[in-house]
């Protein structure tokens, strides 16, 4: 049992437990916090995999951005101390059945599948490579998505503004 293994299991356990808590917690702010934990644990997994850049983005954008946004909206729209009533049992059972059967199916297929492994030499996952690839217009270069996403973000921003902006 190496430290890596322990860390992995720790992150795994955290992710799963906090995920479950996120979707079951009856206080909304707590749910948001649990979500934050899930995202952070995920970032931990990325670190574990040596994907620092990805982990950083995860922390900054996801944990830092989205969760804050969510909490912000919670504050706008909800009473913090309000406790939700449980959803109707039939709904829960139906949803659980669907989710569990889907999960069973997916896991079964994942575990049965023999994955092929890439044969080319691995590329070093450092900032230099990430930077060049991000701006490369060649094969395996991601300049185009990088540019396009800015349009998406611009449009999303305008969209969010016109909706959220209070009218006269």
């Amino acid at each position: 049992m190496t430290a890596y293994k322990i860390m992995f299991y720790l992150f795994a356990a955290m992710i799963i437990v906090f995920s479950i808590l996120t979707v079951t917690s009856r206080r909304i702010l707590r749910a948001a916090v649990f979500l934050l934990f899930v995202l952070i644990s995920t970032a931990g997994l990325y670190f574990w995999l040596d994907y620092q850049f990805m982990a950083g983005v995860q922390l900054a954008l996801y944990a830092g951005g989205i969760v804050v946004l969510i909490i912000f909206s919670i504050l706008l729209t909800s009473h913090i101390d309000q406790k939700f009533s449980q959803p109707h049992w039939s709904k829960r059972i139906m949803a659980a059945t669907a989710a569990l059967s889907g999960m069973a199916l997916c896991l079964l297929l994942f575990l049965q599948h023999t994955f092929i492994v890439g044969t080319n030499p691995p590329i070093k996952n450092d900032m230099t490579n990430i930077g060049t690839q991000l701006l490369s217009t060649e094969h395996n270069g991601f300049a185009l998505p990088f540019e396009v996403i800015s349009i998406l973000l611009l449009a999303a921003m305008i969209a969010a503004i016109i909706i959220a902006k209070k009218g006269k």
Binding site: H113, F115, V148, A155, I161, I163, G167
Partner: protein
């Protein structure tokens, strides 16, 4: 970026230019004189549309992430025309006081969405495809809620974004599986490395579910009706024509190129989906009273017919799909155009309000009738040709029973289209919609649509052109 690349990416780049121009104009415009944005945007877009028709280069850029062909360019042009008509139709709606503050935003969001679609149908890998898809969808959800003083519009927005998010989540999960099993996100590489395995099928099905959401195929269609009903009419027409058309196109291209080797299976997936879609869509459409909701379900059923074309898995099939989308653009926009005109003038959207409309507004009623006949596939309007070729495509693969079911469904669809015709022409009404004169832009839009409805069917060169650009396997 040299000129060649510019020419290849002409549509996207020009469109981004248009959006930026609008943004600049918005910044420098006085807040009480926003109206001028309307003609400005329309003319700008018209120019862009015209430029789009000029001969262009085709090719692959960004190491395969972006690709374009004559057919893709043609399809982008079709979308442009559709959007142009929608812009015309939305002019008088935007002119209303309540929308005064948000005119340019409307254009910017709409055109951004179009940019997304252009990237989506030009995508050469799943990342660009997904990115384009989201760029096309996310801003649109805001447009669905554009009438933000209406509960229904707000409801449409939230339903749209949440279900769209769920669907893209599932789609993404499918894509991740595809990536995991093939090791690439590039279409060409995935196609090469594709080996049928249960996991791959799972990924594929998740991908299909996500796409089905965009094209509104049963049982992934439920959002459609609510969103179409709640959204402003012009946004609805954008959703039902442009958005759906683009999604159907790229879906077909991906099936034809990436999943070529799975064609046996996806033929059957589509078989099931199309039966479900046509039937359920029709069954729901039968009972609708709200025109927008009615057209929503009818457009669901139409999507089922499109699948018949895709199932042909051939040049013929691709031609028929593109051709049908072209026909569908004009027919559906004509129908939505009429709904939009009436909704703008009177605020009425229920089928019962249309009773006796022919006596007061004969031209609008006639256009509506032609549009509905075209949707139902009645000659001599173009819809007949569109449907006929779709059925030909399915029949060419021997799906005769499916064709039978489809045509029977077309008969059911005729039933409810005739209900509208009946309302307008036959039903008596003491207080029909008063006679009114529609604005220039509305009329222009409708004239273009009607011309399209008549011309496309008979003009075989259009069909032959598409055919010459199509591919199959």
């Amino acid at each position: 970026m040299n000129l060649d690349q510019f020419l290849i990416m002409r549509h996207e780049l020009l469109l981004i230019g248009v959006v930026l121009l609008l943004l600049i104009a918005e910044v420098f415009s006085k807040s009480e004189k926003k109206h001028f944005m309307i003609p400005f945007a329309i003319i700008l877009f018209l120019l862009y549309t015209i430029v789009g028709f000029l001969p262009a280069k085709t090719g692959v850029l960004f190491g395969g992430m972006y690709q374009t062909s004559e057919l893709v360019i043609l399809f982008k042009n079709i979308l442009n025309v559709a959007v142009f008509i929608i812009l015309l139709q939305s002019a008088s709606w935007l002119r209303k006081d309540i929308n005064h503050e948000r005119i340019s935003e409307f254009y910017i969001i709409l055109l951004s969405s179009l940019i997304g679609m252009n990237f989506m149908i030009s995508a050469g890998d799943f990342l660009m495809f997904y990115l384009g898809l989201e760029t096309a969808t996310i801003p649109l959800t805001a447009l669905a809620a554009f009438d933000k003083y209406k509960n229904k519009s707000a409801e449409a927005g939230i339903k749209f974004i949440l279900s769209s998010a769920l669907s893209s989540g599932i789609l993404l999960f499918g894509l991740s599986i595809l990536y995991g099993t093939t090791g690439s996100i590039y279409f060409t590489e995935v196609a090469e490395k594709l080996v049928a395995s249960p996991l791959l099928v799972l990924g594929f099905i998740f991908f299909v579910s996500g796409m089905s959401f965009k094209i509104s195929l049963v049982p992934f269609h439920f959002w459609t009706a609510d969103v179409y009903e709640g959204a402003p009419v012009n946004v609805t027409s954008f959703l039902s024509v442009v958005s759906k058309g683009a999604a159907a196109f790229i879906f077909m291209v991906i099936l034809f190129t990436v999943f070529k080797s799975l064609s046996n299976m996806w033929g059957d997936v589509l078989y099931l989906l199309s039966i479900l879609t046509m039937t359920i869509g029709n069954l729901f459409a039968m009972r609708q009273k709200n025109m927008k909701r009615f057209l929503a379900f009818s457009s669901i059923a139409q999507a089922g017919f499109i699948l018949l074309g895709i199932m042909g898995a051939s040049e013929l099939g691709m031609t028929s799909v593109v051709y049908f989308v072209l026909v569908y653009v004009f027919s559906n926009l004509a129908a939505f155009g009429v709904v939009s005109v009436i909704s703008d003038k009177t605020g009425l959207e229920s089928m019962d309000d249309y009773n006796g409309m022919y006596r007061t507004n004969p031209k609008l009623s006639l256009i509506m009738m032609l549009a509905l006949f075209s949707l139902a596939g009645i000659p001599p309007v173009a819809g007949f040709f569109g449907k006929f070729f779709l059925f030909t495509s399915a029949a060419s693969k021997g799906y005769y029973w499916l064709v039978l079911i489809a045509v029977l469904n077309a008969t059911i669809s005729l039933y409810y289209y005739l209900l509208v015709v009946k309302a307008m022409f036959i039903n008596k009404n003491d207080t029909p919609i008063a006679k009114f004169k529609s604005t220039f832009t509305d009329r222009l839009a409708l004239i273009i649509c009607v011309a399209g409805i008549f011309a496309i069917g008979f003009a075989s060169p259009i069909y032959e052109l598409i055919r010459s650009l199509s591919f199959g396997f």
